[in-house]
């Protein structure tokens, strides 16, 4: 099951995932607090894709049952005063077995503001596999140069790289329209 959420206001949400699910949160300058219970034997993929021009806070709490799997992926662009302060808590109790956890966050900072992502892997079980990674960087100068050698102006190239980062090579109209002004 795939669910898309387009969020313009602060969100507090409790979700129970009882079948394999892909959640896509598209947000702009909204604080998020999402509590997710991943039921036994279920796989969750959760994308949070945001374009920030103001500081925001995210708190994502994931509680795992037996043999559950979660993959949390953040793709964030910070522009102007945009800044992310995120805490992602994955919790596995001592009696829970066979859990797989992954957290990957990518932040493209178009501004000079520092952001933070805290991956808290709160694992009390001896039978769990967990990984996390974060990358933060500016627009890649090699990518800009490459696109300019193909005839795009610096500004066109910047826009294409921002759009590509947030939407990917194939995107739907609803998502494009959601971000178009900010891009």
């Amino acid at each position: 099951m795939i669910k898309n959420y387009y969020i313009n206001e602060d969100l507090i949400s409790d979700l129970k995932i009882d079948e394999n699910t892909e959640l896509n949160f598209y947000t702009k300058n909204s604080d998020l607090k999402i509590n997710i219970n991943v039921e036994s034997g279920v796989k969750l993929v959760c994308h949070i894709i945001s374009l920030l021009t103001q500081p925001v806070n995210y708190e994502i709490n994931i509680n795992h049952d037996h043999d559950s799997e979660s993959d949390i992926r953040l793709k964030i662009i910070t522009k102007e005063n945009g800044k992310l302060n995120a805490i992602i808590n994955d919790a596995v109790d001592s009696h829970i077995k066979g859990v797989v956890i992954n957290q990957q966050s990518k932040i493209l900072a178009v501004n000079q503001v520092k952001s933070m992502v805290k991956p808290n892997l709160l694992i009390n079980s001896i039978d769990a596999m967990a990984s996390h990674g974060v990358s933060i960087g500016n627009i890649n100068s090699d990518s800009l140069y490459y696109l300019m050698t193909k005839g795009l102006t610096r500004e066109q190239a910047r826009i294409k790289l921002i759009q590509g980062f947030i939407l990917g090579p194939v995107y739907d109209k609803e998502t494009y329209d959601f971000f178009v002004k900010e891009i």
């Binding site: 890649n140 090699d142 990518s143 140069y145 490459y146 696109l147 300019m148 050698t149 193909k150 005839g151 795009l152 102006t153 610096r154 066109q156 190239a157 294409k160 790289l161 759009q163 590509g164 980062f165 947030i166 939407l167 990917g168 090579p169 194939v170």
Partner: protein, 254 residues
């Protein structure tokens, strides 16, 4: 007709002079090759020609189509008709080759026809052995070295430049792919005989397919010798170091 004229070019990177007093003229339809050892300044020359900001021109000038382009931005040079097929094209996350070309061509062409574009794109991709799915993937994402080079050639086929710069197009490419790339370039030149090529390479493999009119040997940021294909044979036989030493001795004796 003269296409490119480089006059007494000096290029520096972080205050270190890499190219010193280099002059070169390329006319329409000519194929020039610059050979040289690692660090001789070949890639610096390519980047200076394309207007890469890291490479500062501190003397001389570059003229293209009789216009001084020394102060032009990279994109202005590209739109004038200079095309660089890069040695290591990067992955461009979230932008496909098809999308890049469509954007590029639709902004350049007054009556852009999407259907014709797709047809030409797919035909060219097929001729280069590029899978259609790769055209809609992020540029160079998951491409092998050879596929990246083919993707560079694919783009030039559609953008139709007047001067093609091939920066080590033969590195990381297997024999079959190299032959395929050469065939596409040969056909392109047949259809666009005024197009000139400037090739940067360490090896002579490619000349079996695309014979150059002029070969230049580069050493320490200077073109120390220019001639015909015989220079390639000399380098192949003696290696760069011995060839350059012989050339230096000849210059001293002269």
């Amino acid at each position: 007709m003269e296409l490119l004229r480089i006059n007494n070019l000096k290029v520096q990177v972080l205050k270190k002079i890499i190219i010193n007093d280099l002059s070169l003229t390329i006319n329409e339809g000519e194929v020039h090759v610059i050979m040289g050892r690692n660090g001789s300044g070949k890639s610096t020359l390519v980047n200076a020609l394309m207007g890469n900001e890291v490479y500062q021109v501190s003397g001389g000038n570059i003229n293209f189509l009789k216009k001084d382009i020394t102060g032009f931005n990279t994109d202005e040079r590209a739109r004038m008709g200079i095309y660089l097929a890069m040695q290591n094209p990067p992955v461009i996350d979230g932008l496909s080759t098809a999308e890049l070309l469509r954007n590029n061509l639709s902004s350049r062409t007054e009556h852009f026809k999407l259907f014709n574009f797709i047809k030409e794109l797919e035909t060219t991709a097929t001729s280069l052995g590029i899978n259609n799915e790769m055209l809609h993937r992020s540029i160079n994402d998951g491409f092998s070295g050879g596929e990246r080079k083919k993707n560079e050639i694919l783009q030039l086929e559609l953008l139709k430049p007047k001067l093609i710069i091939l920066d080590e197009i033969d590195s990381g490419v297997d024999i079959d792919s190299l032959k395929l790339i050469a065939e596409v370039l040969i056909n392109y030149r047949l259809e666009n005989p005024e197009t000139a090529i400037l090739m940067i390479t360490h090896h002579a493999n490619f000349f079996k397919y695309l014979e150059p009119n002029y070969v230049h040997i580069m050493n320490n940021g200077e073109l120390v010798k220019s001639g015909g294909v015989e220079l390639v044979h000399q380098v192949e036989k003696q290696g760069f170091e011995k060839t350059i030493n012989c050339l230096m001795k000849d210059m001293v004796n002269d």
